[in-house]
Symmetry: C2
Subunit: 260 residues, 2 copies
């Protein structure tokens, strides 16, 4: 039986999602708990994609196979009891055996939180990126609209990336808005390159400070050169917000939207 | 020259304010930085009082003596550059040589944050106490009013306390209010016993869940017996909010209110 789970995690104390030889990872913590529940029989999980060190998730999706007969709400409770305090399982449901958390993704949404203002907030230092200089939200939003649609995002892909194939991706929705002292950048797309959202954010911050004009974004996209774009914004402001699946699903997509 | 500083800290990664042989403390981190600034000459700081492991401060006050000639705004900048990310200096000012951060306190305010609702928020787990059962804020506020004024607070003092003298203290202001999904308990007084605020909060939570009637609070106070009061609420919801001084001060108390 294949199960799909929506999970949240606070990325602060993790070396990222994916298992690695050194450092605590989200994947390892979850697999440890599942393996314990299966009396030592190793259980592997597959996520919609990985997230980097310090990046958070409120709607990450994973799948795994099990032969345990546990009702879904009890799965949530059992996992949350055993998982560390910085990982939370929001929902578990049965899916067809050919459901795949990574291959079947139709869209993903990321959100990036900037705290904009002279004074920082030490209690949020792991959860927002503090930018002291005033940002022009309207200009940032305008600039963000150049990202809409299908483009070669080479300029917005980390030079360290080992992407196979092209760097053409499609952004289906993007916007910048103010919410109290926070500026929130929403980016939704069918696929993302390594560090793509954080480089988009870094570039939009340059627009917000006035360092770049809004229409420079189209030139940067056209340049297909990482050096032309802005800095990679730091990880702590980034949240994997939601993962959507259209295929092989029972159309009850509601359960995938992490209520947050 | 004596300086007074208002400091904030995120208590999560500290074994409390006060220096101890094992564990990282706020006092030690600040003294290390000051000693470095004084080229190795040890500098001692004195706070308005200590806070326990996991307890936060947005308006803790300290004093120390220095012979360095640095303008006050530069003190703030220099300290913040050298201090770790979970301590922040908000303001520094010169005070008379006989000012004492502990002995001269006239009032202190603590605030306790409860996040009330079925779902927890893993991103706030170090900053609020999550109570899933719905609390009756009106009843909690009503019950809190029994604490106003001068009482023997023996029932609200940790049994581990080694307080010398009596346990009579004066609460000058107290209230419970809802703010979005948070319930905030404000307690202001001229002095506090060990764990006093957290036991008051634990008792008010019992009122909020209906386990105790509002007027039981006056019986608990009268009992002068720790066993009659509620549990000690956990540290992560507690903030030392503000410390007031009336004596030996230039009456410019504004600078003492941490803008938060």
């Amino acid at each position: 039986m294949r199960l799909r789970a929506i999970i949240r995690y606070d990325g602060t104390a993790f070396s990222g999602y994916q298992i690695q030889p050194n450092g605590r990872t989200v994947q390892e913590e979850i697999e440890k708990v599942l393996t314990k529940m299966h009396k030592g029989k190793p259980v592997r999980i597959t996520a919609s994609g990985r997230t980097d060190q310090g990046v958070h998730a409120v709607g990450q999706v994973i799948h795994f196979d099990t032969d345990l007969e546990i009702p879904n709400p009890n799965w949530v409770r059992a996992l949350n009891t055993m998982l560390p305090a910085d990982i939370e399982v929001v929902a578990v449901k049965e899916v067809p055996d050919d459901f795949h958390a990574r291959f079947d993704v139709s869209e993903k949404e990321y959100r990036y939180y900037i705290m904009n203002g002279a004074s920082r907030d030490i209690f949020r230092r792991h959860y927002v990126y503090h930018v002291p200089n005033q940002l022009n939200v309207q200009e940032m939003h305008e600039a963000s609209q150049y990202f809409m649609g299908r483009h070669d995002f080479t300029s917005f892909c980390s030079a360290n990336s080992n992407v196979k194939g092209d760097k053409i991706r499609t952004i289906t929705d993007i916007g910048v808005e103010q919410q109290n002292e926070d500026i929130i950048i929403r980016v939704r797309g069918t696929g993302f390159l390594y560090n793509m959202v954080r480089i988009i954010v870094g570039t939009l911050i340059d627009v917000g400070t006035g360092k770049r004009a809004t229409n420079e974004v189209s030139e940067i996209i056209a340049a297909t050169d990482r050096a032309t774009a802005g800095k990679t914004a730091p990880p702590q402001g980034l949240y994997l917000w939601e993962v959507d699946y259209e295929k092989k699903d029972d159309k009850n997509n509601d359960s995938l939207r992490a209520i947050y």
